[in-house]
């Protein structure tokens, strides 16, 4: 299931110990996961051209091998609705340590923010985590954890065992999320993680934006084995 291009992405990232976001997005996209449309822009023009193509608003994120947690260096700007704001973000990111470009991507909004993660456990091997995502993920700690690979029943029970599972089922007038898509995403993710055993230490897809139609991995972080 791992293609040569996916292997190349990982071997090319060993120097940093983790996979930069555009490469991680590419890897998940190759594996069949839904990711936002994006470009790695190295100039104002590249950024503006892409934004004009998909239409505003867009999200801009700093790309640097020195920055694992982008929001901690204010390296994420959402809701950019003009070239002026886009260039402003670019110029500010340029001064962040290790700057190697700016990720410009489609802004996915609405739905519920989840985290889908993986960890290689010393005793049990590949594990999959599902939880309420976003920046508060380690505050709410509303997660469910299982050994990979997952069958349909495993994936479904991970969803129902979340304290906040009612949020996913349509709470107070909101649409229920696409449960079948989330289950399928979890299963395919667990199978990919089995393939990555020995190569990676952990993965965060956070947030995965789940709406009534799709589950999109809006951010991806892959930490490689030390």
């Amino acid at each position: 299931m791992l293609t040569n291009e996916m292997r190349d992405i990982i071997s090319g990232s060993v120097q940093w110990g983790w996979v930069l976001e555009p490469d991680a997005k590419r890897l998940f996209s190759l594996a069949g996961f839904d990711v936002p449309r994006y470009i790695l822009a190295r100039t104002h023009d590249e950024a503006a051209l892409f934004a004009a193509g998909i239409g505003y608003p867009v999200v801009a994120k700093v790309v640097s091998p020195k920055v694992i947690h982008k929001s901690e260096v204010k390296g994420v700007v959402v809701g950019i609705d003009s070239d002026e704001k886009l260039f402003g973000a670019f110029d500010r990111f340029s001064s962040i340590e290790g700057f190697s470009g700016m990720l410009v991507e489609e802004m996915v909004s609405g739905g519920v923010e989840l985290i889908v993660g993986a960890k290689m456990d010393e005793q049990f091997g590949p594990m999959v985590l599902l939880g309420i995502g976003g920046v508060g993920v380690e505050i709410y700690r509303d997660t469910s954890l299982k050994m990979a690979p997952l069958d349909e029943k495993d994936a479904a029970s991970m969803i129902t065992s979340l304290t906040a599972h009612k949020l996913l089922e349509g709470y107070r007038g909101s649409d229920p999320i696409a449960m079948d898509v989330l289950i399928q995403t979890l299963r395919e993710f667990s199978e990919l993680v089995m393939e990555l055993e020995g190569l990676i230490a952990s993965i965060d897809l956070n947030p995965v934006m789940c709406t009534a139609k799709r589950c999109v991995a809006a951010d991806a972080r892959i930490i490689l084995t030390a």
Partner: protein
């Protein structure tokens, strides 16, 4: 690897006995097996001599009988050669009691034992352990027999990474009259690991419940263990230590931080239907109820009590453990009422928990428990008994146990454990109904039956 010689030995050699020190661990092991167990036991020391009137053999090769189990209690540096000799002499298995291996950094010495045994397909327990205890057959623990508390023979196998925890749990098992089929202290588990014993006890006709105390599995050994446990038709209980994150290294992903070692351990046990015991009270309660009932149940609990307070406490404990207290439909409440004795009819509270009050008689408990256990959404009946109530006799234990067996539904009783109430308690326990000395423990017993399946 055939583990039968470890658990069903007819002949045992104790290697390393001392001619001068009777408190030497090897002497204690020789002496207890010689005097108290049916196995034929041989003492071995290169110097020869006589011990307790028996010849001391100068080497394992000098023994003419085939030795099923060699108990090795010599200095770590000597164990490699002794193990070679045992294998060459056709000994069938061993327990290496000696310490001084990987636990003190001498991985080289341990590796030598493991390599040789692996090549020869030779099963041995340890090193750095107490070894094996099989009731009424063999005991390699270096503890004087008069100091040990020995549970009755029964159907629970207990496997422990720590010898101390094992001996302590045996005291607690004996206290609660939980019967033991085999107890194994696996120490550094150089060759025989949790997985091997899980596979062996899954087929062992004397064992119906397999309980473990685990500090940690080796690399990827946890995965193999849970996959095997899922196939095992007998309940598997695990108590884990080393749960605190102290000493774990910092991680840079949310998932690695949220899915710590213990969080993963606990989640995987639940995923594969292994019953995790959080502490000793849970371990003892779980082993006791699973020893009586191996079939998984749903979560509906019917409660019969002689006191409203006990019923309320039990409901709280059930709720905390995710058990349900189904309400009793009016027609069934009416039926219970009609069958109660006249003095209890007007004062009993008939919804679940059914409170028969301090005036309840044996017959009222029997009637109520029978009607509740016939309900589809009740999977287990908790009987909370206050043996000091005037209407309750010491016959009630055996009467209720008979109902449980007849209707095929698990009953669990709470009775305070003091000598005075022993006949009531034995009426339950000797007839297959577990009894807890606390309400919380009784609820934990029911919890074990529900957790015993994949979730």
């Amino acid at each position: 690897m055939n583990l039968d010689p470890l658990f069903e030995p007819a002949t045992v050699a104790v290697i390393g006995v001392s001619s001068t020190n009777d408190r030497h661990p090897a002497n204690v092991i020789f002496s207890k097996n010689h005097h108290r167990y049916p196995v034929k036991v041989f003492a071995v020391n290169p110097k020869g001599g006589v011990l307790a009137g028996e010849k001391v053999f100068t080497s394992i090769t000098a023994i003419e009988d085939t030795v099923d189990l060699a108990v090795i209690v010599a200095r770590a540096e000597l164990v490699g050669d002794i193990l070679d000799e045992c294998i060459d002499a056709g000994v069938r298995s061993a327990a290496v009691i000696s310490g001084g291996f990987a636990e003190v950094g001498r991985n080289d010495l341990q590796e030598r034992l493991a390599m040789r045994a692996q090549q020869a397909g030779f099963p041995f327990i340890g090193p750095n352990c107490l070894g094996i205890y099989v009731p009424n057959l063999v005991d390699t623990f270096f503890l004087p027999i008069e100091r040990m508390v020995k549970p009755d023979p029964g159907n629970v196998a207990f496997i422990s990474q720590s010898g101390g925890i094992l001996v302590d749990q045996m005291i607690k098992f004996a206290d609660e009259r939980i019967g033991l089929s085999r107890a194994v202290s696996i120490g550094n588990k150089a060759i025989i690991k949790e997985l091997d014993l899980l596979k062996y006890f899954a087929r062992d006709p004397k064992t119906q419940v397999i309980a473990f105390y685990v500090e940690g599995f080796g690399k990827n050994e946890g995965r193999a263990f849970v996959l095997e446990a899922q196939k095992c038709p007998k309940p598997v209980v695990v108590m884990k230590s080393g749960k605190s994150p102290i000493g774990q290294k910092a991680v840079s992903s949310h998932t690695a931080s949220l899915a710590g070692d213990y969080e993963s351990f606990s989640a995987v046990l639940a995923q594969y239907g292994i019953v995790e015991a959080a502490n000793e009270l849970e371990l003892v309660s779980f082993c006791e109820s699973l020893s009586a009932y191996q079939k998984p149940i749903g979560g509906g609990i019917g409660i019969v009590t002689g006191s409203g307070g006990h019923g309320a406490m039990a409901v709280d404990a059930c709720w905390k453990n995710g058990l349900m207290i189904p309400s009793i439909p009016q027609d069934i409440q009416d039926r219970i009422k009609q069958n109660l004795s006249p003095s209890v009819q007007p004062i009993a509270s008939l919804n679940n928990p059914v409170d028969l009050t301090g005036s309840g008689l044996d017959e009222d408990f029997v009637t109520t428990a029978s009607i509740l256990s016939a309900m589809d959404d009740i999977d287990c009946v908790l009987v909370l008994l206050l043996p000091y109530l005037p209407g309750i006799t010491s016959d009630l234990g055996s009467k209720l146990s008979a109902i449980s067996r007849q209707l095929g539904k698990p009953f669990i009783a709470y009775v305070p454990h003091v000598e005075k109430y022993d006949m009531l308690i034995e009426g339950f326990e000797l007839n297959g109904t577990p009894v807890s000395p606390s309400i919380e423990g009784a609820v934990l017993m029911a919890t074990a039956l529900r957790r015993n399946k994949p979730c």
